[in-house]
Point group: C3
Chain length 324, copies 3
Amino acid sequence: LQVSAEPPVFLEVENEVSLVAGSKLSQLRCSRDGREWNTQLPSSVVTAAGSSDVLAVACQDRMLSLFSSCGRRLLPAIQLATPTSALHCSAHFVMALTARATLSVWDVQKQKALVKNESLLSILSGADATVSQSLLTQQGVPVIGLSNGKSYCFSSSLETWTLVADKGDSMVQCADFRSCLPTHDAPVSSGPLAVMQGRNLNAGRLASRLSSTPHHLQQSMTLAFLENQLTSALTLQSAAEYRHWLLIYARFLVSEGSENRLRELCKELLGPVHKSAATAWEPSTLGLRKRELLREVLPVMVENLRFQRLFTEYQDQLELLRTK
Amino acid sequence: LQVSAEPPVFLEVENEVSLVAGSKLSQLRCSRDGREWNTQLPSSVVTAAGSSDVLAVACQDRMLSLFSSCGRRLLPAIQLATPTSALHCSAHFVMALTARATLSVWDVQKQKALVKNESLLSILSGADATVSQSLLTQQGVPVIGLSNGKSYCFSSSLETWTLVADKGDSMVQCADFRSCLPTHDAPVSSGPLAVMQGRNLNAGRLASRLSSTPHHLQQSMTLAFLENQLTSALTLQSAAEYRHWLLIYARFLVSEGSENRLRELCKELLGPVHKSAATAWEPSTLGLRKRELLREVLPVMVENLRFQRLFTEYQDQLELLRTK
Amino acid sequence: LQVSAEPPVFLEVENEVSLVAGSKLSQLRCSRDGREWNTQLPSSVVTAAGSSDVLAVACQDRMLSLFSSCGRRLLPAIQLATPTSALHCSAHFVMALTARATLSVWDVQKQKALVKNESLLSILSGADATVSQSLLTQQGVPVIGLSNGKSYCFSSSLETWTLVADKGDSMVQCADFRSCLPTHDAPVSSGPLAVMQGRNLNAGRLASRLSSTPHHLQQSMTLAFLENQLTSALTLQSAAEYRHWLLIYARFLVSEGSENRLRELCKELLGPVHKSAATAWEPSTLGLRKRELLREVLPVMVENLRFQRLFTEYQDQLELLRTK
């Protein structure tokens, strides 16, 4: 008997029931929101997980079955190469971890693999660490936390493991951006990036340590840290966290007078002004319109007189695009 | 000397011919529809296969060459990691099985891999079975039949092996949907699903066995079976079989009064009614318009008075969409 | 201390610097066009490479970091499974070769993998050869040259290694297309195909050898060679070389009177004439409009009276499409 609960979904399993003469089946009974359904599977159930959209059941014959919220089978049974050791469901995404430390993620709605049988050995080997946490975001991004404080997500577009958080990184501890924190914005503490970085991340936590670090070094470590946050939020497909860190980053660039980086950032957000140009530029990122983001970044610039010209330049171009 | 025939394509091979001083080549002569062409390859030909669109030739140096119907080379020579043990061509698709039990499929028209070097071990290991059948559908889907009665297809979107038929499954034998078979529809016996399931599949074949099975159990096994058929036809990209089983499934849901499932099915086929909503819903599946399918499903509902309201509800929405 | 130069980009590295009490970091200083930036990385730098758009740095902890031209981090740190042995950058593409002879390529602009951890063993095994050259084209196509004279590129759409050049191939040496070389076209000697084939490729180089080869054999070897060049240029995404060899190929087909192949070629370039037909035909290849290419091929046909009708047929259809 097993139970899996996320929105309250209850699953009752009876393995090896003799239902029909001569053959044994597993009997599943699932209830949620007062609605019940049941079905049979030809092999013993090993593990199961559910979300609002999908119920995933892994059996001893290495078969993975996926059902809708009312019990309709969504895909034919998936034959895995190795036994499943853990299942996670989130929205319409399903993640399977196998006994041989490989990870797969499917988008059940699009009937499509996002991550295919990727080995955790890439992140475990040489690290002398174990998996301490595994989660699947609402966007279907798998994240693995290790016992050494490092967290990795597998990017389905880069098709590789990327480091999104490292609790032991001394650069994280030296980064100081206290002056750039938003005053009225709500803190973004529930996103996957915040979850993986944990309490370790209070800006300027090591003030004593910082006092002994030369300013230019601390500046470049803070830059490195903030750019890590931005790219990590992007890879985690966490739009709210991306916007949050983008504004802190912009404030920091302005206060430190980093013109090259600020110019590169604005250029990327604005994109090509003339429609004629064939381009690989995407107008939005994680569902956020880049030019809307630029509109939020521009007011930050006026705080440093050095950027008066840069501000006017981009303000004018945005105005031009609006009236086109 | 080898011959491969599908539309009558004849291939004559002479290996190790000394054509030019000092080097040995293979000489290929191909004839079809009275048209002939010939070419040379630098290594001995091991196996070959052809379809209306493409001729595939595998050589001893692990090179795979693909030619058009008039002998034009379509792709540069493909270097395989292991020797080819079997080739299949179907329409503009080519499937290669290698000596190390891996399978690849290419779409020659789009110059694109559909399946890349996938191991059969996932489906063979622990099964104590051998490959008894291998085929490539007209849609480029590879299907492998094992000696234990199970058939798998590799889904290029799910990037995994899925079970599409199991001759020994007791649930298949218990499913009873005789009353839901179409009366005027032509039987769909030539599709890949029917081919892999073979003669085993006559609805209600085990009537004697069935009599001893409680009705609710038989009902849920029939549901499981029919949903397997639907998802299998989908994964095999077999449009005619999908439509065939969808209508049987709808009839069964109606006769058994399964409102939740019927509602979920109709909802999926209808899709969002308001255009404004951004959505991941696809208007067609396997080239069949989902709303056309819904139009075929609705008349089935009137056979059960319980679904009068559901019928009217979806009928109205379809009408609304038509007049928009 | 390391330096990497392509557009003059200079990189200075200091490993294991004690910057902050208790932890060691690597210090990077990069200068280009007089602009300088610096950053810190938590592990020792092993190798680095740069292009106009991107700087790639691989560290001892198997982390790969990618920076923009002004030092902004472009992606989160990528965790590789094995240590990097070589890095190449070209435009916005980065190629990593690892110690276990696997190759990866990323498109930094689209934040996307083009080639993922592909083993070189497929092309090395049984060849008794070593890697003598590795390059990444401006289109992000990886090319590997072996000591046995063969060159392979990994096609990200075919997801396989393909042979693009073979200096020792006797067919290459027998191909004779001297009469078909363009008179006014500039020679295409700087493309990746020309680079990999080297000096070996002068049409009719082995005239003495050729004299003893029967004409029909030489004709079919020349055809095979030219079709190899076409498909190789296509796979290398080398537009200029593709156009160059297409015109030579067309001239050769015309001079040898190969009607079937010429007709198939024209048909492919023209595509479907009626818009209604749903089709998989792409109007352009490597950024070249196929119908523009056909317009260049047609004048070649008039040189052989046999193709007067074919010429008129396609000329008329092009005219028809233009006026539509």
